[in-house]
Structures are given as structure tokens and as C-alpha cells.
């Protein structure tokens, strides 16, 4: 009886390990997708719209912006043409020092209805100022 119980307990531990591994693999795939979106967004801003570097995301679509039109800014925030699989930009928040931006991205179409969010720290520098580093701060398993 003791042997049977300990075997069943081990079996449960083994199944739990398999599930944990699967969820870790999925988390890394999500993390990679968010990181790719961060690279694409920052690349686009550095090359074509550096004026956005110091502007919080809520000002990107403001009327009368010189360096970007509202539709392009919306496209950047949506991560594309608005397809449900696109990674959204939830926040682009420059800090007071002007040397860092916190970027929060969301991957809406994660399995089981949960949305994954990735937080990145963008380092700014040089003259004229540009983004020159992207550091992942972590993956947040926010619920949709």
C-alpha cells in the first residue's frame, strides 16, 4: 500500500514537471515574440520617427504632430494593421532624465485566453539622441 501511494505521488510529481516545462516553453516563445516586436518598434522609431523617443505614447496620435501622421502612429501602437495577433504597444514612457524609456508590449493572442505582457527598458544616448539598448525587464502573465 505504501509503495502504491508513493508511486502515485511520484507520478503526480512527474506530470506536474511536464506541465511546468510546457508552460515554460510557451512563456519563452511569448517572450521571444514580444522581444521581436520591441526590436521592430524601436528600429522604426530610430530610423523614421526619432521625435517619438521623448514623447509618451498617448501623445503620438495627437493632432498637429510634425514627424508622424496619426494613422502611422496608430499603426505603430497597434503593431500592424490591427490584426488580433499583432503585438500592441501599451506604454512608451520616457523618464524625467531623458535617458530611458519604459516600453510595455502586449501579446493578445496567447493560449487559454491570457494576454502576455513584456516590459522593456530602452536606453537613449548619442547626439542626435537615439535608442541604443533594449533590455528585457520581464514577462508579465496578465489576464485578458
Amino acid at each position: 500500500m505504501g509503495l502504491l501511494l508513493s508511486s502515485l505521488s511520484l507520478q503526480a510529481t512527474s506530470l506536474q514537471s511536464q506541465l511546468r516545462f510546457r508552460s515554460q516553453v510557451q512563456a519563452r516563445a511569448d517572450q521571444d515574440q514580444l522581444s521581436q516586436a520591441a526590436q521592430k518598434l524601436v528600429s522604426e522609431i530610430n530610423l523614421l520617427h526619432p521625435c517619438l523617443l521623448h514623447l509618451p505614447e498617448q501623445d503620438w496620435t495627437r493632432a498637429g504632430m510634425d514627424c508622424i501622421d496619426a494613422s502611422r502612429a496608430t499603426w505603430l501602437l497597434q503593431g500592424g494593421d490591427g490584426s488580433p495577433a499583432d503585438v500592441h504597444t501599451l506604454a512608451w514612457q520616457p523618464d524625467a532624465s531623458g535617458k530611458k524609456v519604459m516600453l510595455l508590449l502586449e501579446l493578445p493572442k496567447a493560449p487559454r485566453g491570457t494576454a502576455r505582457r513584456g516590459l522593456f527598458e530602452i536606453g537613449l544616448g548619442g547626439e542626435p539622441i537615439r535608442a541604443w539598448s533594449i533590455q528585457e525587464q520581464g514577462l508579465l502573465g496578465a489576464q485578458s
Binding site: L3, L4, S6, S7, L8, L10, Q11, T13, S14, L15, S17, Q18, R20, F21, Q24, V25, R28, D32, S35, Q36, A38, Q39, K40, V42, S43, E44, N46, L47, L48, G126, R130, A131, W132, S133, I134, Q135
Partner: protein, 130 residues
Amino acid sequence: MTMAEVALAAVILMGSASASAQIWASSMAGIHSAQQRQRALNRIDGELILLQNHWQQVAQFGPLAPSCRVASQQLIDDLQQTPLGSGVDRQLTLLPEGEGLMVSLQDHNEPQARRDQLVKPAALHLCEAA
């Protein structure tokens, strides 16, 4: 207790002991393989962090390339020179439009332990708009 009852009890005991031993062995194998897969994931993560640190260093101190295509190729050449941990495969692929590269790391024995990182030189200010 009759002889037949004793024999039946012995058979039941042997059967359940044998089944338990099988479950125990398969569970132990499962736990062992889960530990190996976990180690593979950690190994790939470690390699990725090393590479990320490397290209951040390049970005901080590297010169501006004449184009993003050239910067991508320079990054590939540079990353190919960086040492790689044992048991890990590295694949560096230039994107079709040439303005970025995909860095893929995979464990030899555990194909699910895999990371795919896009690197756009323009995002690290290694190149500017033409």
C-alpha cells in the same frame, strides 16, 4: 484462513507490488527527464543572455555602419566569433530584406529548448536611414 485464500492474497500482493514498482520506475524516469529538460532550458537562457550582452556591448561601442544591411552582416560575423556552450546549436540568419538577423539557439538533445531572437541593428543605433 485456507491455503487458497493465502495464495490469492499473495498473488494480489505481488501484482500490486509489481504495478507500483512499474509506476514508480516510470515516474522516476519522467522526473529525471524533466530535470534534464529544465537544465536544457536554463542552458539556452544562459547562452542567450551572453549573446544579448555581447550585442549590447557592440551597440554601445561599435561604429555606425554605412547601411543597416552592412550592420546586420557585421553583427553576424561578430556573433559567429563568440564562443558557444557545449550542447547548444546556434543559427544566425540574415532577414530577407537584409535589415536584421534572427538568432536561434537550440539544445542538441531537447528541441523544445529553443529561443529565437530578432536583432535589428537600427534599434541599437548601429545604422541610420539611408
